[in-house]
Amino acid sequence: MFDSSHIFSDSFAHKENLVTGIEARTKVAFTVIALVINLLSPTVYTPLAIALFCLAALIAIGIPSRLLVLRLAMPLVMAGVVVITQIFFYGTTALFIIPFWGFNLVGYEEGLARGLLIMSRVIGGVSLIIFLSMSTPANKLLLAAAWFRVPKIFIELTLLVYRYIFVLLEEIITIRDAQRVRLGYYNWRRSMRSLSILGGSLILRAYDRAERVFEAMIARGYTGTMTIAYTEHFGRRDFVAAVCLSAILAILYLIGQVQA
């Protein structure tokens, strides 16, 4: 259920290295602009170059390649379905014909090209997102978002949700283990019943905990809204990093233009 594949990406972001050292706002801006370039690119080369850059940077700072493959695998399942629908729906130039239960299935050349483009955009886009989230801790990311004028309530809510996911996760594991030793997941019927009880208990405990957390926050001077201020410095090093990333963006954009 909550095995190692569910480790949040930012558990790697707390280490000190070249990529995590880049200031969060710069990385957020880089990722957003690169995502737009990725989506607008007319050829497969730009997305693949983006993926190559992001994955190389992540491997260089010591992210296990197994985890990168795992993160890419799930979106690719959906992309696979999309590619197959594109091959058989899009275009007019027949590429291949498969006899299929007495019918002929026609695959189209344009569809294949479009499918591959979408597939490459998925790889490029997902690589960019994990590049951002594996090198930036959630709190820095959200403070950067606050600097970009994202509503304060949204930031505060996201910080709280993010924090309590881990707390409630421990409660889930405790309850589930207790259910399991009482044969709560013995068959499908009992599994569904146990899951409902688990979900219900989780909600009830969440409400109880919210009351205690609120009291604790009041005791520490909470007045109804959190104070969120972006305090990080934009030094000379950050300026150099921003220039380098801008140059990379320009190169990525040009790759698409040249090939088109």
């Binding site: 989506l39 629908t85 729906f89 899009y90 955009r121 959630a138 996911i165 905990r209 109804g224």
Partner: protein
């Protein structure tokens, strides 16, 4: 161009193929088919779905802001409820036919607990965290995912719940309907979002049909399971702490003082 008959023929072969594909994709254990991955939607369609998403999230934020003035403890409450809904939406629900697991949407449950507008905001938060830290969904497709999962899931689920309660259904049945219709509506919306962006020169509804059929073998039973799960959870919450639900939906619940059997109150 192909004539009409040939086009019908082509579409239906594609449907058959999509069905076979759907069966194939049943087998990878956890299915995240609901989340549209980053990069699948072209830029213009990604932008189109952002419009309703931002509109409803902003309305939700304004409602929360108004409530923070009335109830000061609402932010920690919503934060922790949001975390609970996030975790519920990654619960592995066992699908009996295949032996694999799939995930509920969770927003119908959220809408019953905190109301549809706030549930949309919580859903948007959960989708952002999933997109960033788990690579389910995406940033450019965040808008589309908010519309299909947070917005449609919340409002259809909430609507189904209210309608069934008005028809004097029990809490379990009403919550079952909320989960069932919320889940199916999400699935239909996701299919429509994919089809409208990807049909190209072909028929929109042909593509919609193909995608719907491709995901039907997992999503149809999953809707029923989401219903059972939502029904179970809401009934349990109502039995133990009825005031949690009556505060948010005042007129829907009739007081049932003897409903507590072995509860904590």
């Amino acid at each position: 161009m192909l004539n009409k008959g040939a086009h019908w023929f082509r579409t239906h072969i594609a449907l058959a193929l999509a069905l076979a594909l759907g069966l194939l994709f049943l087998y990878p254990a956890p299915v995240y088919a609901m989340h549209i991955a980053e990069g699948i939607l072209p830029a213009n369609w990604a932008a189109v779905w952002y419009v309703p998403a931002i509109l409803f999230v902003v309305i939700g934020i304004l409602i929360i802001r108004r409530k923070t003035r009335e109830v000061r403890g609402i932010m920690p409450l919503l934060g922790i409820a949001g975390a609970a809904i996030f975790l519920v939406s990654v619960f592995p629900v066992p699908v009996p036919v295949t032996g694999s697991c799939s995930h509920p949407v969770g927003t119908p449950l959220g809408a019953i607990l905190v109301g549809p507008f706030i549930s949309t905001v919580l859903g948007a938060v959960a989708l952002l965290i999933q997109a960033l830290f788990l690579a389910h969904g995406g940033i450019s497709t965040w808008g589309a995912n908010i519309v299909s999962m947070a917005l449609v899931g919340s409002f259809v689920g909430f609507g189904a719940f209210v309608v069934f309660r008005k028809l004097n259904a029990t809490i379990f049945v009403a919550a079952f309907a909320a989960g069932l219709f919320g889940d199916w509506a999400t699935y239909a919306t996701t299919s429509f979002e994919l089809a409208s962006a990807l049909h190209g020169a072909g028929s929109l509804w042909g593509m919609f049909g193909a995608i719907t059929v491709a995901f039907a073998p997992t999503q149809l039973p999953l809707g029923i399971l989401e219903g059972l799960f939502t029904g179970g959870v809401v009934t349990l919450v109502y039995q133990r702490r009825p005031e949690l639900l009556s505060r948010i939906i005042p007129n829907v619940f009739k007081p049932v003082p003897s409903a507590i059997e072995g509860g904590s109150k």
